[in-house]
Symmetry: C2
Subunit: 233 residues, 2 copies
DNA sequence: GGAACCATTTTTGGTGCCAATCAAGCGACG
DNA sequence: CGTCGCTTGATTGGCACCAAAAATGGTTCC
């Protein structure tokens, strides 16, 4: 939290309706954490956040408490708040939970998957493919997220969907920015197509297999990034 | 800057040398909600909590925010906080998630289930049975919880175990106090015994079947309570 | 008799200030 | 020369006060 005066991003809040500011701050910080702007272990100084997001001190405090409750930050008494730093085994555990939850989602996704939804999904898969061909890494990432979110929206159990979102938000995507290999991306493109195809064919087992395989590959990618990181440390 | 000797290991929420005040208040309120002392929909007035738990106003506020983050309470702007009131379909969704998560736990529980752990578990099953024979409803309930918590402690994935605890905590147990039928309790006793037996026999499928059956019965019990409630409304 | 309106009281929500606490820098001492 | 202890600076954390909003109770008018 040192090297940003960051002119562009700030939304003026004087004109906004003044309800629930701290929630927006929490979401902003969460978003910045996910984007890798605030790496794990960074101290979240209250004064910095205050100026950065242009809100009051109490808003910052409540936002930080919320982030702790979401397990995106941890609180050290009389020291402050820092971005949560997951140990490798914690990452493994979270990834395992992701597999469990997303497999369950895959099993339950059929009821709401009508023709219109399938078409929208296919459009997003295509968009991802197009972004892979000619788009920045950031755009690829965004399109990827979009596809998965759309898939998740088809889950008939909103609590389950939220659990998936929460689990995902806790996993650092910073590692993804050094996106492993070209083969990985291509495989992802194919996976997305396979998912839509399995949905169209109403083939439960195939869909679950694709989803689990997709996540397992991500798991291995994390493993590689971790190895890189620990080699450096 | 930010040189740090201790990266990552701490996730303890309870083992701090001195727990923060507001956290204790939050846990107290959560416990009272679970116990049915604070029925769903109850307004949680700040002054009441302040006097009831003998803490400052800011502690109360932070505790309430934490309860909102845990989805045990909801916040209405300029009106206050109230105990979360789940719609029947939300309860159904949460129960479904419980089945998903606990089935996953059952599948993964073997690694840590050594002889000592099995004996402890069996002792708890026996205690539950004993409490069913001659004990108050509250004691039965406590013994039941204890057994399930011990079972959960065998889960090698702490994140998954925590997810189960979180999901459980969101389900109102107040309905259980009017404990459905005698047959239900007896079946529970038998289920617990079956779980231990399946663990001893290392029979994955059997264990999962028992767990899922156990929860499905609870599901039906909730359904009945809901019917009772909505009939009255 | 009932409904709308107004004053009072209660409760919530935010802000500013000050004490408690910790890290870093500095000097003295073994 | 290294280490211990103190001082200083910066940051966090709690508390008390005050403003805004809603519920309550009573009154008046239709």
């Amino acid at each position: 939290m040192t090297a940003d005066a960051t002119p562009g991003l700030n939304l003026d809040r004087g004109s906004l309706p003044r309800q629930q500011d701290w929630r927006m701050v929490a979401d902003q910080v969460a978003s910045d954490v996910q984007a890798g702007l605030l790496p794990p272990g960074t101290w979240l100084k209250q004064i910095d956040l205050e100026t950065r997001y242009g809100c009051s001190r109490s808003d910052v405090r409540r936002a930080l408490d919320e982030l702790v409750a979401r397990r995106l930050a941890q609180h050290v008494l009389n020291r402050g708040y820092r971005v949560f730093e997951l140990a490798p085994d914690q990452i493994a555990h979270l990834l395992e939970m992701r597999v469990i939850l997303e497999a369950a989602v895959a099993d339950r996704i059929y009821d709401k998957a009508d023709e219109a939804a399938l078409n929208r999904l296919e459009a997003m898969a295509d968009r991802f493919e197009e972004r892979v061909l000619n788009g920045t890494l950031l755009e690829q990432h965004a399109a990827n997220i979009e596809f998965h979110m759309a898939l998740l929206d088809l889950c008939p159990n909103p609590e389950l969907a939220q659990a998936v979102r929460d689990t995902r938000s806790r996993l650092p995507t910073a590692l993804v920015y050094q996106w492993p290999t070209r083969g990985w991306i291509d495989q992802s493109v194919r996976d997305h197509a396979s998912m839509v195809a399995a949905l169209r064919a109403r083939d439960r087992d195939a869909l679950r297999a694709v989803v689990v395989g997709h996540l397992r590959r991500a798991e291995r990618a994390y493993g590689r990034s971790d190895a890189r990181l620990s080699r450096r440390a």
